[in-house]
């Protein structure tokens, strides 16, 4: 399994963590990878904790269980820290990426002694500046690409441009804002 990169997303229903995991799968797919993107479905409610997963590999992955020892964890909503054990099983040579205005050092105090890398990005400010609304998933998607290096950044940006053009064909006015959010997040990840 060493060649497989495993990512676990923690978010709240309505924030787009599932969509972000599928967008990441798409982007990795477009660079020629084998991908899995799947949410863990529970009672579907706005604001309830949700989990989504990615496996990304150069070879086909046949394992179809949830992910218990991820290489990376993405926390889309920092208020989950404390009520959800976000670092459970997280590999020490991996990283956790948190959407927060706090510094990696401040976040570390809350993570039950996790010794690995802690990265932060202020997806709220980035999203509100770029889109005028709070959609954290686009900046978080960029942050996970930055931290995990699962694909070339330029290729990622180019691919997302095409992907947004397709996804937002009916509302092209949001494409530019999403691209701004994406590019800014790539430069503002702390703790690398």
């Amino acid at each position: 399994m060493s060649k497989v990169v495993e990512i676990r997303w923690h978010g709240r229903g309505g924030q787009g963590a599932k969509t972000a995991s599928l967008l990441l799968a798409d982007a990795a797919f477009n660079t020629g990878k084998y991908i899995q993107g799947f949410p863990e479905y529970g009672p579907e409610r706005m604001g309830a904790p949700i989990t989504a997963y990615n496996r990304i590999s150069d070879e086909r992955v046949t394992v179809h269980s949830n992910i218990y020892e991820p290489n990376y964890v993405v926390v889309v909503d920092e208020t989950l820290i404390g009520s959800v054990d976000v670092t459970a099983g997280l590999q020490e040579n991996g990283a956790i990426i948190v959407n927060t205005q706090k510094s990696p050092e401040q976040i570390r105090e809350k993570l039950n002694g996790y010794q690995g890398k802690i990265c932060t990005v202020d997806a709220r400010t980035i999203s509100i500046d770029a889109l005028g609304k709070y959609f954290p998933n686009t900046p978080m998607l960029a942050a996970v690409v930055k931290v995990s290096r699962i694909m070339d950044e330029n290729a990622f940006v180019k691919d997302m441009e095409e992907s947004f053009a397709h996804k937002f064909a009916s509302k092209p006015q949001v494409i530019e804002g999403n691209m701004q959010a994406l590019k800014r997040a790539l430069t503002e990840v702390k703790g690398l």
């Binding site: 399994m1 599928l22 799968a25 798409d26 797919f29 084998y34 991908i35 899995q36 993107g37 799947f38 949410p39 479905y41 086909r60 046949t62 394992v63 179809h64 269980s65 949830n66 218990y68």
Partner: protein
């Protein structure tokens, strides 16, 4: 050239339906059905298919409408899941006994109660004796490929039976993975036009469908129905061969994974087979002669072939993602042990009921099963035949 894409299992099946472009799809468009009618109805609305889409008020009506349409001479498809399949029950038997080759995608999910929406096989396992051919698939690719083959299998003049295309709810239906799609025109050429020999809309040759059939003929008709199931196996293999020529992807009655010299093996259905293959690879690296059989064709049940494939094993674990509540073992276990009985002797066989209601099946769970088999080989003793895996008790 195949089309490289990434789709969820449900998207893949909806695409297969679009490519087949059936005459009629009748489906209940909301829960407990699946996303498939939702995706398919958008193809209808966008004019991408010529299909008459009948959004009915229940699953019972969905299957009834499919029966009516197929009997009239239309190529017909539908999809459902869990309690939706349960509500179709009465009509499943009628579709099969009327010899109507309807293709039904079943997204395997637990039957309530207690209320649960997640994956297990209690829905389609309950329908195993309804007279439908049942195909099972591990991945989105297999769900897509099986549905295309299902059309050709069911409509073959030697078969003329409805076919279920079963795959795991959420694990396969909602997970996005890589897939190779076949070009539209190649799918169309592969399934060909539907040309039933007898159908209601043929006014030159009027027939009755579904009339009263009492003591004098019912039994003969059921015997003929059984004959169709017996003939289906050969047709399934012929269709698979033709499909392999088209795509390079090989299908059989079941998949044998590292079985050539296997001493311990598990027999499993659907997505857990993929998780188990990873465990087999790990065991093989340690020198353990582990293998796996994944059932593709459950009805008809490939009794002789599966016996041959298992005949050299010392110990086997049969994995059931459904319980029979018979205090004796799950449905697949019962079929495997009765297949072995009188054909090969001396193989130790145990049963695990696992993953009910979407309980996640981890590689560690599968490793535990192989460990149990190795212990049986070592001691020659089975402590317990009928077991539950990964449950708190």
């Amino acid at each position: 050239m195949a089309i490289r894409d990434r789709l969820s299992g449900n998207e893949a099946v909806a695409v297969a339906m679009k490519q087949v472009n059936p005459d009629v799809v009748a489906a209940f468009p909301i829960t407990p059905s699946t996303e498939i009618p939702q995706y398919f109805s958008s193809f209808v609305a966008d004019g991408k298919v010529d299909t008459e889409f009948v959004p009915v008020e229940s699953e019972h009506s969905a299957m009834s409408a499919c029966i009516g349409a197929q009997a009239a001479g239309a190529r017909t498809m539908t999809a459902t899941s869990a309690n939706g399949l349960a509500l179709m029950w009465e009509m499943l038997y009628i579709a099969a006994s009327c010899k109507l080759p309807i293709a039904l995608s079943v997204v395997n999910r637990a039957l309530s109660g207690p209320i649960n929406i997640h994956n297990d096989h209690s829905d389609s396992m309950g329908a195993r004796d309804s007279g439908w051919v049942q195909l099972y698939g591990e991945t989105n690719q297999e769900a897509y490929d099986n549905l295309i083959q299902a059309v050709k299998i069911g409509e073959h003049p030697d078969v003329l039976l409805p076919v279920m295309n079963c795959y795991d709810g959420f694990i396969t239906s909602h997970a996005v993975e890589n897939i190779e799609l076949i070009e539209d025109e190649k799918v169309k050429a592969f399934v060909g036009d539907y040309k039933p020999e007898h159908y209601l809309n043929d006014k030159e040759n009027p027939i009755a469908v579904g009339p009263l059939d009492l003591q004098n003929h019912y039994f003969e008709h059921k015997r003929q129905q059984a004959e169709s199931m017996m003939k289906a196996k050969k047709v399934i293999l012929e269709v698979a061969e033709e499909f392999e020529k088209l795509t390079g992807r090989k299908y059989g009655l079941f998949e044998e994974y590292k079985m050539e010299d296997a001493e311990v093996a598990i027999v499993v259905i659907n997505s857990t087979a993929g998780t188990a293959k990873y465990v087999v690879d790990q065991l093989r690296e340690k020198g353990v002669k582990a293998g796996l059989i994944k059932i593709r064709v459950y009805r008809p049940f490939p009794v002789d072939e599966i016996t041959a494939a298992l005949s050299k094993c010392k110990a086997i674990a049969v994995m059931d993602k459904a319980d029979s509540f018979n205090a004796a073992g799950g449905p697949l276990f019962t079929d495997i042990t009765s297949a072995l009985y009188g054909r090969v002797d001396g193989i130790k066989v145990i049963n695990y009921i696992y993953g009910l209601g979407g309980r996640d099946v981890r590689t560690d769970d599968i490793a535990f099963v192989y460990d149990a088999l190795l212990e049986i080989v070592k001691t020659g003793e089975i402590k317990s035949v009928y077991n539950y895996l990964g449950v708190r008790e």
